[in-house]
């Protein structure tokens, strides 16, 4: 028998008793509807939870330089100076699982405004993307510095709430000038309050400025001296006579020829940053992102196959684990609820199908007499329960979507549309039809045609 004919026959048979068909389907409708509403509410709240945990920095990956060592003395983690701004650019550009990244230069020194001073827990030099990485996009006042400020090493900064309280009391700091190591910075914005982090240190006790400014103006290493490439250039910059006669060649030492320079290469010192902070696209992508970062940095640092990394990666394993367990717990809980309601609906279908088989014994006998094989009968009754379940599933989907929309409208709960839930509902209601329709259909197909025809 053709599929469409089977479906048509099943539909006609169901339409012979429409009221009963509707009541039977009600179990599945409510079941599927409840599942979809629950799934959507669950998904909404679970992603809301995820978002707030991600706000704590769960997706953050910290890239630290390796330990420096000299003469048998090791200086501990993060002391080597081998992370460069170029590394940051490569990580951002080449790692697909990295959403954003920021170089970080740290300083710890006094900040002065008027007659007040304070040493912030962290003075951080970075790029605007730092706020993105830390999920700290909202300012309470003013605006963020730009990439152009970073390029020009402009003397602008953002302040954390604690710093504002300590230096300015109740005044608005935007537009005011503060001094760090006698360098004046204009305050252009105030960060929103973030509170303490997981280990209890105050995250609002922060000053954020372009990393170039902190690096070259505050920690007082200039771009020129850190990029010294040859001895003769050093002498050029120390000699004060060149200020008197600009353009004049007043080097007291003989200049090296190109060959001499090639023969005596000076170690090149890059501009380095203290660390790089990156954030993964999502929590699941953290391992991937770490793998990609390792590959990129090993290649950039020219590390051979069996050599150890000259950098370290840190992720927030503890937080990620909390996040993952929260999500799985939520999903499992909902799955369980879904299962119960669908089983109840399925039992209802089985019940009614058994009644229907008994009621239509004569029809089954007749169909067998005119040549239906037992598997035709099995298929027909199975088709009826599957049609019931699928129609119920379809109405249930509409009901569920409507329900979750109402919840969103009136209760303002976070709700997220879930195509997966709908697909699952269709598959599950179809299989409920097959599983719970099988026994009645099998019973019908086992009937003896003579007995069935004689049944009153």
């Amino acid at each position: 028998m053709k599929i469409h004919r089977t479906a048509k026959t099943a539909f006609q048979a169901l339409m012979r008793n429409p009221m009963r068909a509707v009541l039977t389907t009600l179990g599945i409708i409510i079941g599927v509807g409840a599942v979809i509403t629950m799934m959507e509410i669950g998904k909404g709240s679970s992603s809301a939870i995820q978002k707030s945990i991600a706000n704590m920095g769960a997706n953050t990956i910290l890239i630290l330089p390796g330990p420096a060592a000299g003469g048998g003395v090791s200086f501990g983690a993060g002391t080597a100076m081998n992370l460069t701004p170029k590394d940051y650019e490569a990580v951002l550009g080449e790692c697909t699982s990295v959403a954003s990244a920021a170089p970080i230069v740290r300083a710890r020194t006094q900040v002065v405004y008027g007659n007040r001073n304070w040493i912030p827990a962290s003075i951080i030099g970075s790029t605007p993307s730092f706020l993105e990485v830390r999920n700290w996009m909202n300012l309470s006042e003013g605006e963020v510095f730009t990439d152009r400020d970073v390029l020009n090493a402009n003397k602008v900064c953002l302040l954390g709430q604690t710093l504002v309280r300590e230096l300015f009391q109740n005044e608005s700091p935007v537009g005011k000038e503060i001094r760090i190591k006698n360098v004046t910075f204009r305050v252009i914005g105030v960060l929103a309050a973030k509170g303490a982090n997981m280990v209890g240190s105050d995250q609002d006790d922060i000053l954020l400025a372009p990393w170039t400014t902190i690096k070259y103006r505050v920690t007082s290493t200039s771009l020129v001296t850190s990029n010294v490439t040859s001895a003769s250039d050093t002498s050029f910059s120390v000699n004060t006579l060149n200020r008197l006669y600009p353009g004049g060649e007043l080097s007291p030492y003989p200049k090296q020829s190109a060959v001499q320079t090639a023969n005596n290469p000076m170690p090149v010192r890059f501009t380095n940053v203290d660390q790089i902070m990156a954030s993964a696209v999502s929590t699941e992508e953290i391992p991937n992102a770490m793998k990609q970062i390792t590959e990129v940095l090993r290649e950039r640092h020219r590390i051979r196959q069996n050599e150890p990394n000259d950098f370290n990666l840190r992720d927030m394993t503890e937080m990620t684990r909390t996040l993952a367990s929260t999500t799985t717990l939520m999903t499992n809980l909902l799955l369980f609820v879904a299962l119960i309601s669908l089983v109840v609906g399925g039992v209802g279908i089985m019940n009614i199908m058994l009644v229907s088989v008994t009621e239509r014994t004569r029809e089954i006998g007749l169909r067998m007499a005119v040549g239906a094989k037992s598997r035709d009968i099995l298929r027909q009754f199975l088709a009826e329960s599957v049609v019931l379940c699928l129609v119920g599933g379809g109405i249930g989907i509409l009901l569920g979507r409507g329900g979750s929309y109402l919840v969103k409208l009136f209760l303002n709960w976070p709700v997220e549309n879930s195509i997966g839930a709908i697909a699952a509902a269709v598959i599950v209601s179809g299989s409920v039809g097959i599983v719970f329709g099988f026994y009645p259909a099998w019973k019908a197909s086992r009937l003896d045609p003579i007995e069935a025809l004689r049944y009153e």
Partner: protein
């Protein structure tokens, strides 16, 4: 030409520990184009005999040849195919599908055979068959809107939709008044004469049996009389 041939058919039912013999050795042959009545009182075994001939049941022992083929030992699915292609059934209580139109009722057996035929052609054949039994103005009526005689005509049309060589009728007039009974029996007669369909009627009614051209009487599982 012999269409149906029974050789020493025995059928016993088991009731608990007891074997109850229903047919105790029936040998019979029916040629193509005959109009036969199987007569007997209730419990004589005539219905069981019809069930065996109609491939609804299997004999306990003995041979059943249908159209040159041993049909007594076929599997359930093979018998279903046999019933669909070569036999038509008419029952005492019509056995029409409620809340389905006359056309749908008549077309029902086709859903089990003609997989390649379109819905349109199926309908066409069903309508033709209904015209054949004289129900041209009752095509879309449901069984509850038809009289007993009309319902039985729909049942006959359904039995003939696959153009089987044999038509089995089990007490076809049992639920009808005498005038309608006569009409239905006339129709059987006509089908037998004009279309050459072999008709086997099971009845306990002598008046009904008289319409047939051969009457086989059965009592206690044995043929007691066979007259033409």
């Amino acid at each position: 030409m012999k269409l149906i041939e029974l050789k020493n058919i025995i059928k016993t039912y088991r009731l608990g520990d007891m074997d109850v013999p229903v047919l105790r050795g029936i040998s019979l042959s029916i040629s193509s184009g005959e109009f036969v009545a199987l007569m007997g009182s209730s419990g004589s075994g005539k219905s069981t005999l019809m069930n065996i001939m109609g491939c609804l049941d299997r004999p306990t022992s003995g041979e059943y040849w249908f159209d040159g083929q041993e049909a007594g030992s076929l599997s359930a699915d093979e018998r279903a195919l046999f019933r669909n292609r070569s036999m038509g059934f008419v029952f005492q209580n019509f056995n029409l599908l409620p809340r389905a139109s006359a056309v749908e009722n008549v077309a029902m057996p086709l859903t089990y055979t003609l997989e390649h035929v379109t819905d349109k052609e199926v309908r066409k054949r069903a309508v033709e068959m209904l015209l054949h039994v004289g129900l041209h103005d009752r095509l879309e009526h449901q069984p509850s809107q038809l009289s007993g005689g009309q319902q039985q005509r729909v049942a006959i049309a359904r039995a003939l939709i696959n153009r089987p060589p044999v038509l089995f009728a089990d007490e076809p007039t049992g639920n009808l008044d005498s005038a309608t009974s006569k009409e239905i029996l006339e129709m059987f007669n006509q089908l037998n004469k004009e279309d050459g369909i072999t008709i086997i009627i099971v009845t306990h009614d002598v008046i009904v049996a008289r319409h047939a051209r051969r009457i086989i009487s059965i009592a206690d599982g044995l043929i007691v009389d066979d007259k033409t």
